[in-house]
């Protein structure tokens, strides 16, 4: 799969932004296997960009293409197909089901298009330090734990692109590094691309492309 952005700009941003940004107003093609880092200070539209790329918001001008299909006109069934097998995401606000256990949260995602077996899920949880939390309800987990669970959830499916929207905002460096290591491994196994948007440069992400939003 190939992801293309073409002259993209949120409708609530002034045209001026296109001049200062390396993303807004440009045409960029993201290929499988690339590790892309997008450095974006607060208010530069980082979350908007990730939501646009994942297709959950459409308040923009320009276009985003999954292969040759525009996200502005894609039908919900096709888009859900992309989301379950080609594009995965870690949201900044985690988005777990609060009344389900951690394991249920992961299973609901995993059964959609299973890439790993249940044992592997437990291994991943152990590796990121949330193995003891699998039976706890989503709402009882701390933000840091929720963030790690959201990361594991994003790895439950096959994907060509993994979108990361400030995935370590509630994690200390050690835990962030572990999580990054896991994601890099998983992306490498799939030959997938990571598009990682964050406030600043992070040393443990070996990007192959760098953009300033």
């Amino acid at each position: 799969m190939q992801l293309t952005i073409r002259d993209l700009l949120p409708v609530y941003f002034e045209e001026e932004r296109k001049k200062r940004s390396e993303i807004w107003g440009k045409e960029i093609v993201f290929q499988k296997g690339e590790l892309t880092k997008i450095i974006a200070p607060s208010g530069s539209g980082k979350t908007s960009l990730m939501h646009f790329l994942y297709g959950i918001r459409r308040e923009y001008t320009g276009d985003i293409l999954y292969d040759q299909q525009s996200l502005q006109t894609i039908d919900p069934e096709t888009l859900s197909g992309f989301r379950s097998s080609q594009v995965s995401i870690v949201f900044q606000d985690m988005r777990l089901l609060p009344e389900q256990t951690v394991m249920e949260n992961l299973e609901i995602k995993r059964q959609l298009n299973p890439y790993h077996n249940e044992d592997k899920v437990r291994q991943m949880a152990e590796r990121l330090g949330v193995g003891s939390k699998l039976a706890s309800l989503g709402r009882t987990c701390s933000y840091g734990e929720q963030q790690r669970i959201a990361i594991i959830r994003s790895l439950m499916q096959p994907f060509d692109f993994l979108l990361l929207d400030e995935p370590f905002s509630h994690l200390d460096n050690r835990n962030a590094e572990k999580a990054m290591e896991l994601m890099l491994e998983e992306a490498a196994v799939r030959g997938a691309s990571i598009i990682f948007a964050d406030l600043e440069r992070i040393d443990f992400f070996p990007f192959t492309r760098l953009f300033y939003l």
Partner: protein, 397 residues
């Protein structure tokens, strides 16, 4: 690993709306029951009154005679209908047709043969076929034919069965009567001929002994006195026998109307109307219940909005979710409609057995049309439900 709805089910918050859900189920059940019962009763009424109806092709058929009073008795010309009377009637806007009941102009006797020692003077009449309520295909006659089909008034059979025991004669059923042959003796112009009469049908509308018009025309010519035969009775075809203008006209002419038969027709219309109304009411209750149920679904989806939205965000297909969400209610719909069908069946059995005393025109089982309506209702509920849920989920996307 097949995609399962089981882990999704707890995300749909339905528990706290149990009473509103039960209300909509009950409403749907009552509506469906009313609708099915109304349809079944409507079918019952059609079967019961099919023979007794004086209405045919949307018209009332009624007979009129001239009022025989102390002054007019014995004066044939005043008590019979002339062609001018018929022409005048035909001109009236509320009358759609007039046909005279043609009478015999010769002497007729009836005998029942050797089995039943019964012999009586009789009369024969003929009427245009379109005015007769029950015309079997065998009701036709051609010159040379020995057997003559007869349509007999149901009332006559009843009267016969009343006086038969007193006269030492056997009482007979409709079925027996139609299988019996009677001898029709036609006398006149110094000759006599015997024909074999067979009852082809019974009429609830016409109090007469009807033979095919072709037979009476032929017999009047053959045995008759050769005079012009005037009608004592006329049959009138009208859209509405209770039209005040029509009744006023008849009163003005001093014609006598056979009102009983129109009352039967009107009663049927009223009963038809009541059950049609009940059916429409049932349908409205069904629609109301479906609407109530759709509000309940909307409420469930609104309450579970965050979870459903998250499922869609992480890649669940809205069509799959709608299908599986709607599927949960299929057993409910089937149970409701099947229960309503079962109750309708019980009601029909009780009606047939206890109210109608197992009359052969009716069945103890519900009509296939009622089953069909039940199946259509199940399909309708499932489809409307699925469409609603899908619409709501697409809106969340």
């Amino acid at each position: 690993m097949a995609l399962s709805f089981k882990p999704i089910r707890p995300l749909l918050q339905t528990g706290t709306n149990k009473s509103s859900r039960l209300f909509s189920y009950a409403g749907l059940g009552i509506g469906v029951l009313l609708l099915l019962c109304a349809i079944q009763m409507y079918i019952n009424i059609q079967s019961l009154l099919r023979e007794g109806s004086i209405r045919k092709n949307g018209f009332d058929y009624i007979s009129i005679t001239k009022n025989v009073t102390a002054e007019t008795q014995g004066q044939e010309e005043k008590n019979l209908f002339r062609q001018t009377d018929i022409d005048e009637l035909k001109k009236q806007p509320f009358i759609d047709g007039v046909e005279p009941l043609l009478a015999n102009d010769f002497h007729v006797k009836l005998s029942a043969g050797a089995m039943i020692p019964f012999r009586t003077d009789m009369f024969l009449e003929a009427l245009d076929n379109s005015y007769i309520d029950t015309v079997p295909p065998s009701f036709a006659w051609q010159p040379g034919q020995r057997s003559v089909p007869i349509i007999l008034s149901s009332d006559f059979l009843e009267i016969y069965n009343v006086f038969a025991p007193g006269q030492g004669l056997p009482q007979i059923s409709r079925e027996t009567a139609t299988s019996l042959a009677v001898n029709i003796h036609c006398e006149g112009r110094e000759k006599e001929e015997i024909f074999v009469g067979r009852i082809a049908a019974f009429s609830d509308r016409i109090n007469s002994v009807l033979v095919p018009k072709s037979f009476l025309d032929w017999a009047n010519q053959e045995f008759g006195k050769g005079r012009e035969v005037s009608a004592t009775r006329l049959f009138i075809k009208t859209k509405d026998a209770n039209n005040p203008d029509f009744l006023r006209f008849l009163d003005g002419k001093d014609y006598k109307l056979n009102k009983d038969k129109t009352i039967l027709g009107r009663n049927k219309m009223v009963i038809d109307g009541i059950f049609s109304g009940l059916g429409i009411f049932g349908l409205l209750v069904v629609i109301l219940a479906l609407m109530l149920f759709s509000f309940y679904l909307q409420l469930v989806i609104a309450r579970s909005r965050d979870s459903l939205q998250l499922l869609l965000t992480i890649g669940y297909s809205p069509a799959w979710l709608s299908r599986n969400f709607s599927k949960r209610f299929i057993p409910v719909y089937i149970t409701i409609v099947l229960t309503a069908l079962l109750v309708t069946q019980l009601a029909q059995w009780a009606f047939h057995h206890f109210v109608m005393f197992d009359r052969p025109e009716l069945s103890s089982f519900i009509h296939w049309g009622v089953w069909l309506v039940g199946v259509v209702l199940i399909i309708l509920s499932i489809v409307t439900n699925y469409r609603l849920v899908r619409k709501l989920l697409y809106r969340l996307y």
